[in-house]
Symmetry: C3
Subunit: 142 residues, 3 copies
């Protein structure tokens, strides 16, 4: 088994859910060297997150934004962590609900995603800025 | 370290939460060859998911269904992705909340789950059909 | 590549969200031997969970408790799994929302967490008792 690791800084995205599958694949040229393995994608932030969901119809990503805003509204009276803006505490909670790392199987040199699966960057802040990922891939040699 | 990878097609399950620990173990005969490692279970779909929870009392799985239907109801006025049926957008959101992959430690040739832990297939569609998993295990040799 | 595995029993924590980054690092003296790799942290329970979130202001952890109690209240009329106490079924649901394992990159012998990231033990029971973790780290040699 062999292992590769790199980092990737994503550009600033607006608040919402964004397909970043291609950007991640492009940063991982070592995928081609792995016969069977795993790609681990880790986001080094606590107010943005990663998930895998439908890669085709953009309306799914619109509804992700609406529904997570329902599950975790701004300005709830029970919030005490309010000094960094009304979008901050909800961003921490959404990040925890969606998670900060993904593991994706690698098969014959490529990500073995389902037909309709894509990687979402979930930007929960109004002005989150650039987001840093650590990408680690490991597996058997081709 | 060594690595094994296979796929498993689960039969169609009704909407709800289903214990599939044994099916997954049976598909992974290579577990017996691993002294210390990890099993990665990945579902190649965006409207079904995987989680680990109580393996004993089936009422837990009934309540999972009820409560996730409360957290993500059908026919919300803010949904715009509605063409594939009223259970479709909620299925995508539930899949994101629960997650599409599991990592379980392997110790001395077996899954090192806690006493009460079992693997759930979470079927969020009314007629989801068969679901495909990619199973990857790696670790030291026994 | 090499792999290390150990277990760690955390002391009983009160219901709530607790920073345990240092306890986990201390149990993983093998991190220093890994140049590039992954630490997998797995909790062997179904009513406590693990997440990564802000490590600085404790008010974030207070708000995690409040908001997860809103998302998953006690004594909901649709709960049928009620014999183990009013905090039990909500604990299972919260554990599923937050997840039972973490994967963290290891770089040059240390966890490669973001500046503001810490590991939370999420104790969802009123009297959960000690909690057992399985810690598995793998990667290239330093």
């Amino acid at each position: 088994m062999q292992i590769f690791q790199t980092s990737l800084e994503l550009p600033a995205f607006p608040r919402g859910y964004h397909l970043v599958t291609r950007k991640i694949e492009e940063a991982c040229d070592f995928l081609a060297e792995i016969e069977a393995g795993i790609l681990h994608v880790f986001i080094q932030h606590t107010s943005a997150s990663l998930t895998i969901n439908e890669n085709a119809d953009p309306s799914v990503r619109v509804d992700f934004r609406s529904h997570f805003d329902v599950l975790v509204p701004e300005n709830e009276p029970h919030y005490t962590h309010t000094q960094e803006g009304s979008d901050d505490m909800p961003a921490h909670l959404k990040a925890a609900l969606l998670g900060n790392s993904l593991q994706i199987p690698i098969t014959k040199g490529s990500l073995n995603l389902g037909t309709w699966q894509g990687i979402y960057l979930c930007e929960h802040r109004n002005h989150g800025g650039r987001r840093r990922l650590v990408l680690t891939a490991y597996g058997s040699s081709r």
